[in-house]
Symmetry: C2
Subunit: 120 residues, 2 copies
């Protein structure tokens, strides 16, 4: 089973964390058969943490986990913190393929999306 894990920074503002949870739900509905499970995780402040969410996915039978950073730029969080947490879980679960997808800011479609918003 493939699991998609949407990873956000985490906020003190619970409404922002709930936005991420809703987005993960929307991803789950739209992913159809590509992912058996879509969850979210937070780097800081909110729960579940990245290791907790990976652990939950492994226990639920994930053979492949795609970690998708919901970040706009390649700062320290994207370049170092997320890879470090993922690497620790990879060592614990060498039978599970855990990979990190490009972060949101790398999406080639962003200019089109932004131009669409500018008309609203």
């Amino acid at each position: 089973m493939r699991t998609l894990l949407l990873v956000a920074h985490g906020s003190r503002r619970e409404a922002s964390n709930d936005e991420i949870r809703s987005l993960a739900s929307a991803l789950g509905r739209q992913s159809q058969t590509r992912f058996g499970r879509v969850d979210c995780a937070f780097l800081e402040i909110a729960e579940p943490s990245i290791p907790e969410a990976i652990e939950t996915a492994v226990r639920a039978g994930a053979g492949e986990i795609v970690v998708l950073p919901y970040f706009l730029s390649a700062g320290r969080h994207v370049a170092e913190d997320i890879p470090a947490e993922v690497e620790r879980k990879r060592r614990e679960h060498s039978d599970v393929e855990i990979r990190i997808a490009p972060y949101l800011g790398q999406a080639g479609d962003l200019p089109r999306i932004l131009l669409g918003l500018s008309d609203l």
Copy 2:
């Protein structure tokens, strides 16, 4: 003339600010005739600031300025700080229409974009 102003937070990491500048350039190329000018501005740390960028647009002849928040959630920056800076410039330039578009996190296309990234 319509100007699109992409507003990001601003980072101590100059490469992140350059990502925003590149994105604004890409928006300029893709906007075709919808915007005569596309610029970026930063809420903190980097330059130009929002008031500076609005001033530049007005001096270049903008009759309408669309401020587009490049933010993923509706925290204090999106809900308070950006509207406050825009409101100050609106009062100074009552002949220019300055409006704030929905922030990136509100884009309905985000789930599709994220699922696309998960395949890369």
